[in-house]
Amino acid sequence: MSSRTTTTARRRPTGGTGDRTVRTVVYLLLAGVGLMYLLPFVIQVVTSLKTDPDAAAHPLSLLPDPFSLNSYRRLFGLGGTGDAVPFTRWLANSALVTLFITAGRVFFDSLAGYALARLDFRGRALLFNGLLAVMSVPGVVLLIPKFLVLNQLGIFDSYAGMVIPLLVDGAGVFIMRQFFVSVPREVEEAARIDGASIFRTFWSVVLPMARPALITLTILSFQGSWNEFTHFLVATQSPQYETLTTGLAHLVSGSLSAGTQYPLKLTAALLATVPVAVLFFAFQRHFVRSANSGAVKQ
């Protein structure tokens, strides 16, 4: 880089100092914006350790006074003052549906992606274009329609109704297809010549090679199902099926919302964020990749 700076400096005498000021300004801007992005989370963590009156009186102070674990106690049913919140039930539900949806998506999306990339069958092109068309229907538009179908099938307000509709997602199929298209064929062909069946080839030869894509898909599916809100909102009704998202939404806005109780609500929101955050920091590179896979240019 230095050589470049000197060349431009030779051409434009102001280059050197101008560069430094530009850099300082950029740093300051980035730091300022970065602070604005972090501060809400910092306030959230601090407030989760405050008492209700303290949180109401000093929303900005970064020192809980008095320091209190009351919110955490209440959420995990370890006493504390105030009504119990079925937080552990939400957590269990979220974990359960996330587990099933993630497993289903990774397996079924890979299968379909492989078939669309590699297998030669009638109607493949039609199916692929159909997939693209269906994927472009905005999700919120389907809120009411999805409920109608679940109701007709008799799986409204059940785990089946929560999980089955999310077992396959178009974007995941697309990611896997893109990956399989880029895998050289020779490996598969060698396996075929050795007499392996198509499924066998897929399972023991192709899938192991697709590790990076599978990790991306797993993360994407986990994040998607853990944070899913609208589908669970229209697929369930009873409190026993509440997940972290629907439970929290009801706690904050609806029937459970007694008084302000902000420390409690922010603690619940914080705990709901933790698993995804941990995953995010552990697999940052894959997150970056998956964010861009949403913008696949063909």
């Binding site: 030669d120 062909e189 944070n227």
Partner: protein, 397 residues
């Protein structure tokens, strides 16, 4: 940019996949390469097998997406022509068939239904008008700043900006609800600077009238008679021109804050594809940094810009989660959006016909917006200098 081989394999005529033929020994499997071109002399045995396996492999996808994406669309189209309370079977004739009545109630017939719907469209329109430009500009700015080669700690900044995008919308909305209370952190911050912040979530005043009110031009609480007396589609001009309410502004801030990280990453990926030599060459030729950015970098970003604006448009016509948690449409219906209205029409008023009709009109709005935006950008592109930047095929997820 991989060309997706749409029909990369010409399906040979008479490749009857019906009934997997005797699974012939897969010798010479090399012949069944899915190569383009006419070399379609493939063993039917393998072909048949592939056909069977292919359909087997895609069947879970076909079943799930068919049942929960395609079928709902068809069913909703039917239900949107009924007056149905969700109790009976909609296909048995127990529900009244009303044809396009639900649609006319929302669009042309004078009445409460239309007024509410048009209010929700107005709210969402202002939301889109603010969110899309703001998130696009902010994410592009962040991407350029993080991408500049002389900045250290890029990874850290990238993480900080992207983190809000991975957390749940419900959790974030909860935090913002706390921050924007009347006596909350945001107003405490504003007090430091000497500004008395509004009571965010209870303030139904339109932004436009509030700003003009500050300048003393209009009184936000007393509509101008000329504007209040006349209207369009069931809303007075005073209401149409009000801008987003103060309460809606908090949801707008939330949306910009949570989405800019994602779009920043998309821009970053595109920026890293711009050959550094090009920019360097421009700089060496004596172009200023701004010129090089304007004439080299920006044209290369055009397709991605198009993509981000499109994704932004599609996303911002679907505001739901934040409205559900933060305001439920209050105050005075100024944060009501079509998506939320569709939800309440079904689940609270048990009027599924109207709910489905709202969903379809919303779908039409989104499609129309996307088309309009495509046409506008294409014209600009044709008029512009760049013949590069062929538009990528759109993808939304």
């Amino acid at each position: 940019m991989s060309q997706h081989g749409n029909g990369a394999v010409a399906v040979p005529v008479g490749a009857g996949g019906a009934g997997a033929g005797p699974a012939g020994r897969a010798r010479g499997a090399g012949t069944q390469r899915g190569r383009r071109g006419p070399g379609g002399r493939r063993g039917t045995g393998i072909k048949g097998r592939q056909g069977m396996w292919g359909w087997l492999f895609v069947s879970p996808m076909v079943i799930v997406l068919g049942l929960f994406l395609l079928l709902p669309i068809g069913m909703a189209l039917w239900v949107s022509m009924l007056h149905w309370d969700g109790q009976s079977n909609p296909f048995s004739g127990a529900a009244d068939f009303v044809g396009v009545h639900n649609y006319t109630d929302l669009l042309t017939r004078e009445g409460q239904d239309r007024k509410l719907f048009m209010t929700s469209v107005r709210n969402n329109l202002y939301y889109v008008l603010l969110v899309v430009p703001l998130q696009t500009a902010l994410s592009l700015g962040l991407a350029i700043a993080v991408n500049s080669r002389r900045i250290k700690g890029k990874g850290l900044f990238r993480t900080v900006f992207y983190f809000p995008s991975v957390t749940s919308s419900i959790a974030i909305s909860t935090v913002f609800l706390f921050l924007f209370q009347g006596s909350g952190a945001v107003n405490a911050l504003l007090k430091w600077v000497g500004i008395t912040g509004p009571k965010w979530f209870t303030d139904a005043h339109g932004l436009v009238w509030s700003l003009l009110g500050m300048l003393g031009i209009v009184d936000p609480d007393r509509p101008v008679p000329a504007l209040a007396a006349h209207g369009f589609l069931g809303l007075s001009w005073w209401d149409w021109l009000s801008g987003p309410s103060i309460a809606m502004c908090t949801i707008i801030v939330l949306a910009v804050w949570t989405t800019s990280g994602t779009y920043m990453l998309i821009f970053l990926a595109a920026l890293q594809d711009v050959p550094a030599e090009l920019e360097e060459a421009a700089l060496l030729d004596g172009a200023s940094r701004w010129q090089s950015f304007r004439n080299v970098t920006l044209p290369a970003l055009r397709p991605v810009l198009f993509l981000v604006v499109t994704l932004g448009l599609i996303g911002s016509w679907q505001v739901f989660d934040a409205v559900y948690v933060m305001s439920q449409g209050a105050p005075a219906n100024t944060t009501l959006t079509p998506a939320f209205l569709s939800y309440t029409a079904g689940f609270q008023d048990a009027d599924y016909g109207r709910a489905a009709a709202i969903a379809f009109i919303l779908l039409a709005i989104i499609l129309a917006m996307t088309v309009v935006q495509r046409v506008l950008l294409r014209d600009r592109d044709a008029a512009g200098t760049g013949t590069r930047g062929r538009f990528p095929r759109r993808r939304t997820s």
